[in-house]
Every structure is written in C-alpha cells, then in structure tokens.
Symmetry: D2
Subunit: 330 residues, 4 copies
Amino acid sequence: MVNVGIIGLGYWGPNLLRNLYTNSRCGRIVMCDSDPARAERMRSRYPDLYCTPDCGEVFGDDGLDAVVVATGVSSHYPLARRALEAGKHVFVEKPFAASVVEAEELVELGRRLKLVTMVGHTFMFSPPVIKTKEIIDSGELGEIYFITASRVNLGLHQKDVSVIWDLAPHDFSMLFYWLGEEPSSVSAFGHAYVLEGIPDVAFINLAFPSGSTGNVQVAWLAPSKLRRTVIVGSSKMLVYDDTEPIEKVKIYDKGVEVIEPETFGEYQLTYRTGDILSPKLSTDEPLAAEMEEFLASIEEGRKPRSSGEEGLSVVRALEMAERSLRNTTF
Amino acid sequence: MVNVGIIGLGYWGPNLLRNLYTNSRCGRIVMCDSDPARAERMRSRYPDLYCTPDCGEVFGDDGLDAVVVATGVSSHYPLARRALEAGKHVFVEKPFAASVVEAEELVELGRRLKLVTMVGHTFMFSPPVIKTKEIIDSGELGEIYFITASRVNLGLHQKDVSVIWDLAPHDFSMLFYWLGEEPSSVSAFGHAYVLEGIPDVAFINLAFPSGSTGNVQVAWLAPSKLRRTVIVGSSKMLVYDDTEPIEKVKIYDKGVEVIEPETFGEYQLTYRTGDILSPKLSTDEPLAAEMEEFLASIEEGRKPRSSGEEGLSVVRALEMAERSLRNTTF
Amino acid sequence: MVNVGIIGLGYWGPNLLRNLYTNSRCGRIVMCDSDPARAERMRSRYPDLYCTPDCGEVFGDDGLDAVVVATGVSSHYPLARRALEAGKHVFVEKPFAASVVEAEELVELGRRLKLVTMVGHTFMFSPPVIKTKEIIDSGELGEIYFITASRVNLGLHQKDVSVIWDLAPHDFSMLFYWLGEEPSSVSAFGHAYVLEGIPDVAFINLAFPSGSTGNVQVAWLAPSKLRRTVIVGSSKMLVYDDTEPIEKVKIYDKGVEVIEPETFGEYQLTYRTGDILSPKLSTDEPLAAEMEEFLASIEEGRKPRSSGEEGLSVVRALEMAERSLRNTTF
Amino acid sequence: MVNVGIIGLGYWGPNLLRNLYTNSRCGRIVMCDSDPARAERMRSRYPDLYCTPDCGEVFGDDGLDAVVVATGVSSHYPLARRALEAGKHVFVEKPFAASVVEAEELVELGRRLKLVTMVGHTFMFSPPVIKTKEIIDSGELGEIYFITASRVNLGLHQKDVSVIWDLAPHDFSMLFYWLGEEPSSVSAFGHAYVLEGIPDVAFINLAFPSGSTGNVQVAWLAPSKLRRTVIVGSSKMLVYDDTEPIEKVKIYDKGVEVIEPETFGEYQLTYRTGDILSPKLSTDEPLAAEMEEFLASIEEGRKPRSSGEEGLSVVRALEMAERSLRNTTF
C-alpha cells in the first residue's frame, strides 16, 4: 500500500484523486489546496480524508510515500523538488516543468535518490494510443515515414502560455512514445490572433533520428474539436481520430497498384487500395491506468511508463518549438 | 463559336476534350499528339475530328482561335508561347509552367497581345470550393485566422518532380482563390522516402499579407486518400472534406462559452459549441465549368477565373516552397 | 425537500441513487435491497445512508414522501401499489408494469390518491430526444409521415422477456412523446434464434390516429450497436443517430426538384436535395433531469413528463406487439 | 459476337446501350424507340447505329440474336414474349413483369425454346453486393439470423405503381441472391401520403424457409437518400451502406462477453465487442458487368446470374407484398 499526498485540487486534481481513492494499492490519502473553496468541496466529497491548506504538512508527513502534484506548471518544479528532497516519489501533471533546466534537475534528483518520477501524460494510458503503439511495434505498418497530428480545440483556455505549451504536450508525448525516440530537430510557425503575444495557432515540424518526420497542428480557436493523427508507414497507414466514437483507430492496408483513372469522376471515386481494419479497443479508463502505473512502479521499484525522462523529452521539444515560434511568428 | 486545337491526349487531355466536344460554344476541334497509340484511341472515339501528330499544324491553322495544352509541365511554356505568338488564346494545364520566369513571360505575352491565358486549376471550378469561396466572401466566417489542408494521395505518381509540384498546386490555387491574395512567405519541410532526391512528403507553411496563415500537408505514400481543408475564422469554422459523399462542406457555428468539464469522460465528450450546417452543393461537373469559362472568357473578351495571373501566383509559391524544402530537408 | 426510499440496487438503481444523492431537492434517502452483496456495495459507497433488506420498512417509514422502484418488471406492480397505498409518490423503472391491467390500476390509484406516478423512460429526458420534440412541435418538419427506429443491441440481456419488452419501451416512449399520441394499431413479426420461446428479433409496425406510421426494429444479437431513428415529414426529414458523437441529430431540408440522373454513376452520386443542419444539443445528463423532474413534480404538485399515463401507453403498445408477435412468429 | 436490338431509349435504356456499345462481345446494335425525340438524341450520339421506331423491325431482323427491353413495366411481357417467339435471347429491365402469371410464362417460354432470359437486377452486379454474397457463402457470418434493408429515396418517381414495385425489386433481388432462396411468406404495411391510392411508404416483413427473417423499408419522400442493409448472423454482422464512399461494407466481429455497464455514460459508450473490417471492393461498373453477363451467357449457352427465374422470384414477392399492403393499409 502506498500512502499519497495530493497537492492541487483545482481542475485536474480531483480526477486523479478519484482514481487514487478507488485504487486498492493506495493507502492513506492527504489532500492539500490553499484555496478554501476547493478544499471544502473535496472535504465534503471525501469526508474520510484529511485536507490541509499547507503543502509543508504534506512534505513533513513521514507516513506519506508519494506526492501527486496537480498545480499550475510554474509550481511543478519547486513542489516536485521539495517532495523528492523529502524522500517521496513524485507524480507531476503535464507539462513536467516550465523549462528543460528544471525538468533535467528533477530527473537527476529522482535518479540519485532512487525515487520514482512520473509525468501525467494521460494519453499514453489511453486505449487507442496503446493499441497504436502495439501495432507500430509489431512492424505491421512497416518503416514509419511520417506522422501528422491535428489538435484543434474549443475556445481559449490559457492566458499565460502559448498554445504550444498547452496542447502540444499531448501530441509530443504520443509521438515520442510511438516512435520510441525524441526529435533531433523541432521548428514551429504560428500566430497570435486573439491575445497579443500569446500564440493561439502553431504548426510544428519534427525530424526524428530514425528518419521519420512529423507535423503537429495545435490551435485553440475552433468551435468544434478536431483530433486526428495519421501515421503513414511503408506497409500500411493508421488513422487515429479521437472524436470518433466507434472506430477511433483504423488501419489501412496497401493493396495492388492503382490504375490511372480516366475521368474526373473516376478520379474522385478511387479512394483506397486495400482493406480497412478497425481493431477493438479496451475500455479502460486512462486515468485509472495512470494512477495504477504510478502506484505499481513504486511498489515494484521500477521505472513507470511516462517517467520523468519522457516528461523531460516533451519539455525539451516544447522549448525548441516555442523558441522557433518566437523567431518565425510575424 | 470558338475553334480549338488541343495538344496532348494522354492522361488529362481526353477529359478536357470530352468537355470541349459537348460545349455549344466550341466549334471546330483539332486534336494533336505525337504518340500514335493515343492519337489512334482518340480518333476512334471522335471519328469526326481531325488529329495531327505535328503541333506546328495547330499553330499554323489560322481557323483556330485557341489552344489547349495538356502535356507534361516541361513543355507548357514552349507550347503556350508558340500558341500566343500565333495569336491564339491559350489554356494550360496546371502547374502553369516550370518556373516563375516562364510563367511571368506567358502572362506578360498574353497581356500584351490581348489574348486570354488560363490555367487548369480545376478545383477552382468544383462546387464545394466555389461554395466555400461564397461563404468566406459573405463574411460569415469572420476574419480568416488560419487554413490547414491535407492532401495525402495513393501510390506514387511522379518520378521527375517533388510531391510539392505534383499536389500543392491544388491546395495553393484553392487557398489563394479563397483568400483573394497570394502568400508573402512560404516555407516547407519534407523528406524523400521512396526515391532519393524526389521528396514524397512535405509540410508547407504560408503567411499571407492579411495576417492569415496556412499549413498544407502533401504526400504520396498512403493507401487511402485524405483530403481535408479546415478554415478557422473569428466567427465560424468551415471544414471541406473531399472524400465525404454527402456533406463535403460543413460550417461550425460558435456557440456560448465552454464550461470546463469536470471529469476526463466529460472532457472527451464535449465536442462542439454550436450548430453545424452542411449547405447543399451544386452538382456541376468542374471540368465542364472550366471549359465553359475558357470559351466564354474568349467570346466575352474578359479575364477568366483561374487566369494566367492565378497560375503565376501558384508557380511563385511552388518555387518558394521547393527552394525551402531543398534547404531544410535532411 | 423530498425524502425518498429507493428499492432495488442492482443494475439501474445505483444510477438513480447517484442522481438523487446529488439533487438539492432530495432530503433523506433510505436504500433497500434484499441481496446482501448489493446492499453492502451501496453502503460502502454511501456510508451516510441507511440501507434495509426489508421493503416493508420503506413503506412503513412515515418520513418518506416518495419511493423509487428499480427492480425487475415482475415486481413493479406489487411494490408500486404498496407505495401508493402507503401514501407515497412513486417512480417506477421502465416498463411500468407487466400488463395493461396492472399499469391501469397504478395510474388509477395515483390519480385517486393524488400522488405522482412516474415511469423511468430516460430517453424522454435525453437532449437529442428533447430537441427532436421541439423541432417537431415547431412544425419545421411539416406533417409527420413516418418514423423508423432501429435498436440493435449487443449480446443477449434478458432470459425471461422477449426483445420487445426489453428494448421497445425506449422507442415507443420516444415515438409517443414526439407524436403526442399513442398508436391505434400495433403489429409485430419476429423470431427466437438463440433461446426457444424468447424472441430476440422483432419488427413492429405502428399506425397512429393522426395518420403517421412507424416501423421499429429491435434485436439483441449484434456485435455492434445500431440506434437510428428517421422521421420523414412533408417538409423536412430528421435523423437521430445515438451512436454519433458529434452530430446526433440532423435535419435534412428539402430542396428543388431532382433531375433524373442520366448515368448509373450520377444516379449513385445524387444524395440529397437541400441543406443539412445539425443543431447544438445541451449536455445535460438525462438521469439527473429525470430525477429532477420526479422531485420537482412532487414539490410543485403537478404531473411529470413521463407520467404513469405515458408508462401505460407504452405497456399497452408492448402488449399489442407481443400478442401479434406470438401469433405471427413461426 | 452477339447482335442486339435494344427497345426503349428513355431513362435507363441509354445506360444499357452505352455498355453494349463498348462491349467486345457485342456485334451489330439496332436501336428502337417510338418517341422521335429520344430516337434523335441517340442517333446523334451513335451516328453509326441504325434506329427504328418500329419494334416489329427488331423482332423481324433475323440477324439479331438478342433483344434488350428497357421500356415501362407494363410492356415488358408483350415485348419479351415476342422476342422469345422470334427466337431471340431476351434481357428485360426490372421488375421482370407486371404479374407472376406473366413472369412465369416468360420463364417457361425461355426454358422451352432454350433461350436466355435475364432481368436487369443491377445491384446483383454491384461490387459491394457481390462481396457480401462471397462473405455470406464463406460462412464467415455464421447462420444468417435476420436482414434489414432501408431504401429511402428522394422525391416521388412514379405515378402508376406503388413504392413497393418501384423500390423493393432492388432489395428483394439482393436478399434472395444473398440467401439463395425466396421467401415463404411476405407481408407489408404502408401508407399513401402524397397521391391517394399510390402507397409511398411501405414496411415489408419476409420469412425464409431457412429460418432467416427480413425487414425492408421502402419510401419515396425523403430529402436525402438512406440505403443501409444490416445482416446479423450467429457469428458476425455485416453492414452495407451504399451512401458511404469509402467503407460501403463493414464486417463486425463478435468479441468477448459484454460486461454490464455501471453508469448511463458507460452504457452509452459501449458500442461494440470486436474488430471491424471493411474489405476492399472492386471498382467494376455494375452495368458493364451486367451486359457482359448477358452476352457471355448467350455465347456460352448457360444460365445467367439474375436469370428469369430470379426475376420471377422477385415478382412473386412483390405481388405478395402488394396484396398484403392493400389489405392492411388504412
């Protein structure tokens, strides 16, 4: 059993809490938020759990084995560092930290103290993403040529970070997980339409050591979500559309050679060359799997999926993209 | 009535020919191809039309008012130039020419000789593209923030030009038509996976004087076509998916503010904020409309839609993209 | 505040309980289930609620104003009757009762004792169904010609009742709600494929006094859900597909006259005649709205949507369909 | 080489003619239509073909081996009979004849005179229908439990026959072809909304000797086409949606047992239990394949797919459905 302190009960923290609460590996839970309203809401939902406004109490509680940090990105580093220095395993929401320097220090600290560091890249625990990883690793797609990802979101969620820091962590964590590598170069192009100085649209190019390339589109401004990832390999293509209810993942087989169509109508009507398979996906809850992985990696003394190293890779790519964006945006 | 010579009876020429043949503005037609097999095939299909292997015969035929050039891109410039110099209006397949220098010279020549120059950007005559233009011009979408376009094609069609010269003319012509401007800067990133030196994947960024940005993905390597264009404006979003049979164009209205979802499930399920409208499209044949526009612009002595100027804009952007691609591709 | 006893904590009861628990109109809740395992599960989820294995305790508790019955259909009548006779408002899961005689008696009893009777036809509280009702009532579809409904479900859920009693209550309650009438005649045709004597597929025809007709397909045997309702009116058509994530409801406008297509290809490609609109739907939770309606109708002393009368109409149609099925099934 | 006379150059005839004209098995063609405008149109399209207004000339032409009848249903029988009596093989558009008596006589006549009789059930030559037949025959779906078919068409096409005679031939021919049997009982229910006495909506139940059941919905009144066929077998389900551009046929695998969902949300989100496969379809033109089959069966002296027998089965079912409809329609 792992005893856990959770800091930050705002938007995402309660979701993590709910999944810790029902996980049988989880023992005692201490909740922490300096905002009285949030604390009160959670106290009434979990009357059996203790809640403190002071995170120092969490770090000083010798009975706690681990800390979950679900606050804003700027406090990830100081809180995670204090947790590690207090000898506690740490789970930090994505993005891992506000800079590569911070993220590197946390990884290094965890490694030195032999403590688990894990980052909340939830999509790495989502059934379509896991299935896609299995398919890629099986070699079914062949050599991976390129991956494109669209993440066009509703409304405007952030006022202090660019759309890259807000949305690209999702796609970066998926791409790096699938390819098993981080990019050798990242460049970005975008624009700030609504708030000056806060880019709300960005197109990001990635080159990977293996030769694969990527193009990630992130934007906030749409009235309807678009979330489509296309992976083109030398043998097959895989499309993962997270807005599809029934067929989130489709694998397109290559068929025989295409014959040149003779009319514009035929040209328009020749859509594909082989079978299309949509594999059955598990219905596991990603957040439950994520919390399970955190607790299991502590109990088993092993590195978790979505470890601090993966979190660092994502932060490194975010920093490269952001720097490029600042240079090329007009 | 316009008398027309058509040069090039390979892949696309017969489609143009068929639409000329049934157009009531079209008078006498002379066919021309140096390949005996192609010539023979068209002769048997149109026993009433004269066919010559020698294009000089077309240029020298004083009864012909116009010439349609449907050959490979490398011969566009010399053939179109001879046609114009022979005093004939000219229609050239896309892309207009193999370089900006060539395209500029053709436009200049047409202007000086008061002859129509037109380029076969067929999508500019396709009902969903025209409807999208109307919607943008009506102001319904508001200020256009950004446009993304995916054109992922089956198989490998070309051995001598990059995927940019093969596929981007379609998207460039649509984007410039919709926005009514050509880009101030174009950059591209891509890779050659199958044939060394022939990029088969490219991601192209475009910045327009008005402030709009664009991201165009073109690739050859897929087992199924993807053709989706997303236009995000300050008021509404439009999605044009050419592989959709019934709802090719959809307009997404902006609704009220989004409330932050409280669970991962809710987060996943909140897809959109307003109504979605899919307007009825005309069922006109794009190629018929294109040939009609060519013949009508000659008879009415006016500039056609998709004129030489538009063709030049596309070639200019292709050249910028190709140059950028050569610099950044690894 | 309404104090509520809830009997039956099996499959559906806990969902109702959860929504009662968080409804501010709901006061004290008493839980009841004779199965110790179920009782224990709910006790640990709601440690503050009292749970009894004896439903007599619920009926005898003078502090309780209302009873929710979420047991199997065979016990609906005896439990609801005892609740009413004990002076308590009653909410009964669908179908209301096992026969018309039973349902009539419950309606009559509620009317005489001036107590609310309500039936859990949840779809009548689901946003797409409510939006469809609004659209029909607005006259936008014109005169309603016919409605078809497909409800093809996974696996085999029931061993004691036919697919009609299991699935048709959903569609019947929607159709009668939309049309504001119950059918004058109902006939059914079906077959028992898996368990002898338990029909698992049925096709039901309905004729309504207004002249509208209906065709409802219900089946258990499919590996994927199908749920599509088509409403064809004299002016427009509405399609409601509950498996669609983003566009559950679509309204198809009638356009101009169709021109006879000239080729088989054209024939296949002419899909529609007018605009298609998918209205934005509320994201309200149907079960929360249902429990709110039950409690509000008690507090406001009024008839609820989905009252005993509606429940009776559904049971009447079920009985007619079942009788017809028994006669025609081979 | 087969020499063919074609009678009827109205709506469908020109499509057959075009495919005869390009078929290498087809020799001389004689066209026939008593309407001068139609005759003139075809004469100008095929200046090399002879056209007569007098069908007697076709029957009396000893050089003709076969006759294609593409007129209205009421003249199918007299024309086909004269053709057979003149010793010519005959292809008749669907439905084969206006009554079972007529159809039986034609089949009998063809059999006695050893002449091919074939009926234009074009869908039996369409790639998705053929692929479905292959899948059923392979046993992949298991025992076929039931088939539902929706054919909701635009506008109002006919003024003299009910929607059953107009649309049901398509679905009947497909169902009987797939199952390899004709129904033992057929009943129908419907209504005439627009023109009194001409039913424009009908729901048809079919029972087959093997135990399979069917439900066919046909209607004219919709602003958008719906064409979906669902085949549920003991092992898998197949959905064939003819309005889908890319995935017309999908096979749904059965997976493991479904776990009862615990919340309404989960209930809504559990869509399917196994993989979904959409097989690649051929892009053959159905009408070309149909004409090829007619000519080949003549040359090879064998029974064609979609022979007179199949046409008779369809007419028999149409007559049963129509009779039932007249009895039950209100």
